[in-house]
Symmetry: C2
Subunit: 455 residues, 2 copies
């Protein structure tokens, strides 16, 4: 999360890439005028060592430095914090948003965070400790505590005056939450409606009382879905007694969506998820996150090998059978991936639920049959034309009908089953299932061959 | 796009699903109290025919009806517009946001849109025509013209008074754009800063003059990247003379990101992109969007078949060679997909550019060799153990080294090349490339076999 979105930003970084060549240190004033996102970009690209980087940030100073620091990549932030004497970093860490600070402190060497915590000012330390306890992947862990709040009995005019005072320390003041003395969430009003209301009206008359909120233990998926469904700038997070704990803002939702999509892509392509940027991930660790998957898949593919070895005698009778194995497993793998990806995506977007099983089943049964007959027919003609062997043509064609139907049903129904069992349905879109479907496809192919060659 | 995000929303739809059973018509007042997103959900789920649906919307009336209508799925909107007499729909269409209206009118039967346009009130018609001309996939086509703007010479106090009047008809008033008489974009100020400024100050003293904007012909990628980089609520869209044309808001950016991710998933899984929800897409059209890809892939896989047929004599000599073909093509396909997906994702997130070619090449060369040697070694042992044939073990192991290296380099460098040539790099993550890599893998496998069997 970052500071409240504000349009006070200067030229985008692209137009001044020459500035990289200059020693950034010499032109702190020019740097300070830029948007923290751009300063962070420049600092990352300049290839400074952590100490130089901290020097520049300390010269920039204050909240701009704090915000720039939290927009650096997590690895750079960690490197800075672990490099310097703890006291030197205190100023930067204190100026971070509480949720960014917790994210960072959870990731650095425990010795560093334990050394830093007692030095942080009381108020900031309390906010940090409050956020620390929420579990990763929940709304509580993603929220910030810097929301604007007012009490119900003041007038609109008083509210605007109070907001002026709160504004500098709030993530957003565009939604204002109305709470009682125990922080129970009573209502909400947007700044837009506040401005349009009469100054003498009381907040309790103009606020909306049916507030949409999420519990602190809600999943990130639920949180993002609520926020985007209603196009909110911020969504309040409450405990189970409806006491306001914090807010999740639209820019967090965007970060969550991007991170989840990256993870889905990694899963689909059988890379163990990692957070660093591509070029930043050390080769050794990248090797392991790829190797394990490839090794597992290599051993799973032994299933296919064993099925073929088991049918060695038929292969001896008709070596040409083996020519079409890449075609059969390719077609069933592709069809299975198609239906798995569509169903996984539809589940992620909330378009279908596990209880839609019967509808998905009947659709995909029909679809699998149609695709199988169409592609099986094409393959029959193709094989007959290449090998001039009608028997082989029938074998390949019929095997395609059965394997496509099977792959289609497995690909579409397995994600629903996983979702029902509370596993991540995206697991099925990955190559692990594809490798198993390969073996099943080959087994079906040989069964069809045995059956037709006997007949 | 939707109306300005406002928190005036009631209980989420989930909690009242019983309401579906009741005739919605009977309880218009209760319906009107709910958030347009929830009303749209209820209407979609109720399975009404287009005329019934329009009846209910017309009873709800005004901007709530217009906003609810634009939150229905595009298919439902189309069905309503094409069903009713054009005049009946006029009220709903006039109350839509201009950008939503243009989206819809571009998609309905031209006869309907041509019948409707002359009836639309002058101001709304002008906005529609202005937006109509921008090409799909540009910032211009995605923006709304309902932004808040003021002139530079008024005071902060006057500005707040004018904003109160503009607020009801603006997508957002949280960013206010300062323009001259010819609409040149001079500055921007957030409502937050406006409220914090002294009432007597002039806007030209408090506004930010370095405004970050995009041109109307900027791609959606660029637009979303600028908006999310700075965590803006809205991003101004200008022509090449820096005249303000409209704004793109954060909720549009979220919709764009979601739509692009869905498209990427469809591409990866070889389904021709479609926009409808999974269960809404008619089976016939779904069949074709899947069939074409599968048919193309089936014919591409004939490459593999031909390579094998060409080497039929070696297969006769050693049938066991064929057992390991699924393993060889599986491993190289998986490794190629891994690197392609990582590079495609890194390109999409702006982490790497085509000019990073040398760094990517050296990384993936090393990685391919390391993965090849590790997996090749494992395969050698495995094959020797199963077939007790050291020669076959060497063949499979060596083939894996070469195919993994090749697949890794092709998978990582091809996306960079496509990007350089201005094609969509995501094309390479799809199964088409995988199928070609399969054939290359098999060819390498047989070459290695020939070479080692001779030696």
């Amino acid at each position: 999360m970052t500071c409240a979105p504000c349009p006070n930003a200067c030229t985008p970084a692209e137009s001044v890439t020459e500035a990289e060549a200059h020693p950034l240190m010499g032109d702190i004033e020019a740097l300070r005028q830029r948007h923290p996102s751009d300063i962070a970009d420049l600092l990352e690209q300049a290839g400074l060592d952590p100490n130089e980087l901290v020097d520049i940030l300390l010269k920039i100073g204050n909240s701009v430095a704090g915000e720039t620091f939290s927009r650096l990549s997590m690895e750079t932030q960690k490197a800075c914090l672990e490099a310097g004497p703890v006291k030197r970093m205190l100023q930067l860490v204190e100026h971070m948003e509480p949720d960014d600070r917790v994210d960072l402190l959870k990731k650095v060497d425990p010795e560093v965070s334990e050394g830093l915590m007692p030095l942080i000012a009381q108020a900031e330390r309390n906010a940090t400790q409050r956020l620390w306890k929420y579990e990763e992947g929940t709304a509580g862990a993603e929220m910030t505590t810097e929301y604007a709040f007012l009490s119900a009995d003041i007038t609109v005019g008083e509210a605007l005056a109070q907001l002026r005072l709160q504004a500098p320390n709030r993530e957003t003041i565009y939604y204002v939450y109305i709470t009682d003395a125990e922080r129970h969430l009573l209502g909400v009003i947007s700044l837009r409606h506040l401005i349009m209301s009469k100054p003498r009206q009381r907040l309790c008359e103009v606020m909306t009382t049916d507030v949409i909120s999420v519990f602190h233990d809600a999943s990130l998926d639920t949180t993002v879905q609520q926020l985007t469904k209603y196009d909110f700038i911020a969504l309040p997070v409450v405990d189970h007694q409806n006491r306001l704990l914090g807010i999740v803002t639209f820019d967090d939702a965007m970060d969550i969506v991007k991170a989840e999509n990256t993870e889905d892509f990694q899963r689909i392509s059988a890379v163990l998820p990692f957070e660093e940027e591509y070029l930043r991930r050390p080769l050794g660790r990248l090797f392991w996150s790829r190797f394990w998957w490839l090794a597992i898949l290599l051993f799973t593919s032994i299933l296919s090998t064993s099925v073929m070895a088991y049918h060695a005698d038929i292969l001896h009778q008709m070596v040409a059978l083996s020519f079409f194995i890449p075609m059969v497993i390719g077609a069933s793998g592709n069809a299975g991936t198609q239906s798995a990806t569509m169903v996984v995506r539809a589940l992620a977007l909330g378009e279908i639920r596990p209880r839609d099983f019967p509808r998905v089943f009947s659709r995909e049964l029909l679809m699998g049959l149609a695709l199988g007959l169409a592609l099986g027919g094409m393959a029959l003609l193709r094989v007959f034309w290449q090998e001039e062997n009608l028997l082989l043509g029938y074998i390949v064609g019929m095997a395609l009908v059965v394997t496509l139907l099977t792959a289609n049903l497995v690909g579409s129904l397995l994600p629903l089953l996983l979702k029902k069992l509370k596993f991540d349905p995206a697991l099925t879109a990955g190559p692990f299932i594809a490798t198993i479907i390969d073996a099943v496809g080959i087994a079906i192919y040989f069964q069809v061959a045995i059956w037709l060659m006997r007949g």
